[in-house]
Amino acid sequence: MKKIAICTAAIVGLSGCMAPIKITSEPVAASLTSPALQERLSPNTMKMTVRAFTPKTDEAPGAEVAGAKCTLVSDELRATVITPQEVILPRFKQRAAAENRGLPGSLVITCTAGELKGKSIVTAQAKQVGTAVNAGLGAAILTTLVTAAVATATPWQYPAAISVGMTE
């Protein structure tokens, strides 16, 4: 079985002092897996930047990977990007009557670039907070407290940036 390393999904994951690679391609819009999902969407969309990195080691700093092909898959969405690139994602209405208040499924980002592979998982939140399920998976890292009032009124959305760790 191929070794697939699953690395950290960082919210603002640019490491060290390296300047990120400039994004030159246009954002790509994610598609819905079913037209019926349309009624769950909020009027506004958001952009998520997808970048890929090789891990930092004792011998070498991590480096951003340009040209990695990444597929984004959830129960509701599909998209493909070439790193670094932005993807336009819908926001999902938060509704008390809906199952799980309308929370969309986790978004799995799988990237390949030559022999390099990586996978990250991000979950939607009711605010722009960073919940990243990382390689440890022992527990999600909750970076921001969300107040009750804000949380019930805000559409579900994914983080604005995701970094996918790539290994051979």
């Binding site: 697939i4 699953i6 898959v73 959830s74 129960d75 938060q94 008390a96 799980n100 208040r101 929370l103 969309p104 499924g105 986790s106 799995v108 996978k119 998982i121 979950t123 939607a124 939140q125 009711a126 605010k127 919940t131 399920v133 390689a135 440890g136 998976l137 022992g138 527990a139 999600a140 909750l142 407290l145 969300v146 009750a148 009032a149 949380a151 019930t152």
Partner: protein, 171 residues
């Protein structure tokens, strides 16, 4: 109006100093669980770990950790064998509506034997990240307990796995 319980996150961190009862040193070798069935890559989330510790009742009624118990772990997807206290590594499963049963793996049965004593427990899969996480084994000489309480709906998008701390009391 539905009262919000959705995104309330309670983070409690408790540090117990080095005067806490020392735990046995963990076997440095991490056991890779053996896959019993093939699971498509698309259903796999990433590596996860669990720590198996065993205890016996002391004369004062309190649990005393017992080392070198041999434990077998077995689920529909995995099997493994550890000598306590020891870590196991396995791959967690994605939770999503597009998978049958939301991708939930089977329960993990853990059976431990030592000194003629035995214990068995069955662990249902849980959404990792919504569990209570004990980090004591990463903090030498201290016990750090972090409790993360997530709402039900958030937990519905977290990967499936098993509790990190698997503790059995042998009788």
């Amino acid at each position: 109006m539905v009262h919000l319980k959705t995104l309330t996150v309670l983070l409690a961190a408790t540090l117990v100093s080095a005067c806490a009862t020392p735990r046995l040193e963990i076997n440095p070798k991490v056991v890779d669980m053996t896959k019993r069935v093939a699971v498509p890559d698309a259903q796999l989330a990433g590596p996860a770990r669990a720590l198996v510790r065993t205890y016996v009742k002391g004369s004062d009624g309190k649990n005393v950790e017992l080392g070198n118990a041999v434990c077998t772990l077995r689920s529909r997807e995995y099997s493994g064998r550890v000598t306590t206290p020891q870590l196991v590594k396995y791959t967690a499963f994605l939770q999503a509506a597009r998978f049958k049963g939301r991708g939930k793996p089977g329960p993990l049965v853990v059976t431990c034997l030592a000194d003629g004593k035995k214990a068995t427990t069955t662990l249902e899969p849980i959404p990792l990240g919504a569990e209570t996480r004990r980090t004591s084994d990463y903090v030498d000489g201290q016990i750090a307990v972090q409790t993360v309480v997530l709402s039900g709906q958030l937990a519905s998008s977290y990967p499936w796995g098993y509790p990190y701390a698997i503790n059995l009391v042998l009788e």
